[in-house]
């Protein structure tokens, strides 16, 4: 299958242009009334803008590389069962409840793989106009500034970001982890949580995530020296839902120790 006609640095520049256009489109359109529908349950929201933005990304990707396959949240992409050749994973608007109710703290995310190898990833905090972008060979930047691996902390010196629902119902020992942390936060967006982790504002982030929720975060975290694993001992599957823990190394060790110890009781 076709490689892209441009290298990863050129691709990064191009995708940043796409995202700037998408950002301006979202901020203009959000002033109009949104059409809001529910998906799997009353809290799983989708708007007309989620769908339109996904179609805009897909058109740009297919124009760049008609052979690319696209795994995307709102279903306008392809049926993707493997990572052979060029594959894009897209979340047009992540944190849709924040988007709908707050017009703040939502993200737009893209990740690009070739034959399963990460080539680049992008997470945009739309309102703050911040994009964290990069990959394994090119490092990670926040807009134009190079990011460094955050300073290591232990769990009890770290703020951990959680999925609200799974914390509330105490799945995966989340309440136990929260008690051992210095503090915890619930932001309502995986993209915003990954950005805070990458900046070192949080020491870890855990949630049950679909590929479009975690692909860009996984690529950027690993590129910056942070760890991404499953919390339930299942193999990490890039093409399905996972209990993702992304964190600094020491936080990962502390949480794994805590959850392994507790499950043996």
């Amino acid at each position: 299958m076709d490689k892209l006609p441009i290298n990863n640095a050129q691709l990064d520049t191009l995708v940043l242009e796409w995202m700037d256009e998408i950002r301006q489109f979202i901020l203009k359109e959000i002033k109009n009334p949104l059409t809001i529908k529910t998906k799997s349950n009353a809290r799983d929201l989708v708007t007309n803008l989620d769908r339109t933005v996904e179609q805009m990304y897909i058109a740009k990707i297919k124009q760049l590389n008609p052979a690319a396959r696209i795994l995307s949240e709102e279903g306008f992409g392809d049926e993707v069962n493997n990572l052979d050749g060029p594959v894009w994973i897209i979340d047009p608007i992540d944190g849709t409840m924040n988007f709908v109710k707050q017009h703040d703290e939502y993200a737009s995310m893209l990740a690009y793989f070739y034959d399963g190898e990460a080539q680049g990833a992008w997470i945009m905090d739309v309102v703050k106009n911040e994009v964290v972008h990069g990959g394994p060979t090119q490092g990670v930047r926040l807009n134009k500034a190079t990011m460094e691996e955050p300073t290591e902390n232990k769990l009890d010196q770290s703020i951990i970001s959680f999925s609200g629902t799974h914390l509330l119902y105490d799945h995966y020992q989340y309440q136990n982890i929260a008690r051992m942390a210095l503090g915890y936060r619930v932001y309502g967006s995986a993209g915003i949580s990954f950005i805070r982790l990458l900046k070192g504002q949080c020491g870890g982030f855990t949630s049950v995530l679909k590929p479009w929720d975690f692909a860009a975060g996984l690529v950027l975290c690993r590129s910056l020296g942070l760890q991404v694993e499953t919390l339930d001992g299942q193999p990490l599957d890039m093409l399905s839902s996972n209990v993702i823990l992304a964190s600094q190394k020491q936080v990962m060790a502390d949480i794994k120790m805590l959850t392994n110890t507790s499950s043996n009781l």
Copy 2:
């Protein structure tokens, strides 16, 4: 006791100047290493900057009105046992864990009362450079823009902001409230939570708060048509700790119905 030599509109202009100076001071000083100490427990942090900023506010207030009494978080104010005459309530830096670990999502808050009557209140999101300010006679503004009372929603259509600790340990039926809400968030700062409530981004905020944590929020919420009550049926005491619920009217009714019903089971 002495009234101020200026009216509330002039006072508002003056305090906004103070806050702009404080903001620039904090953003400059935060680049230096902080001296961090713990207070009541390992998660109750105070820094040298909390203390310095409080002293800066107190010097400005005493210069304006030497008769003013000051109730403040870090203890440089006065012993205040009533609201007679001119009284200021100050939280120099609210959300100290966010301040220390994230350098983001912390607030600075002031409220001014005369003989128990609110005259003005100010909450500044330091990093975003946003100040919500106003009072019962002058309305509420976000920086220079007049704010309107947020559109009413029911609890199950609202995002509620909680104190992380009390939610985690399920005090005051918080987990029950969170389950009935559309969604919930934990931000780690009362000031940031009040701003989101005032903007309509959240439908309610509840936490156990000291006077300096809730005084400015209470004044601004009530001035904008939002409700502030206790959640545990105790009389609201401006001079001590309260289980505060600040919310839109319908959210207040829904939560009171829920917590009364549940406590009768």
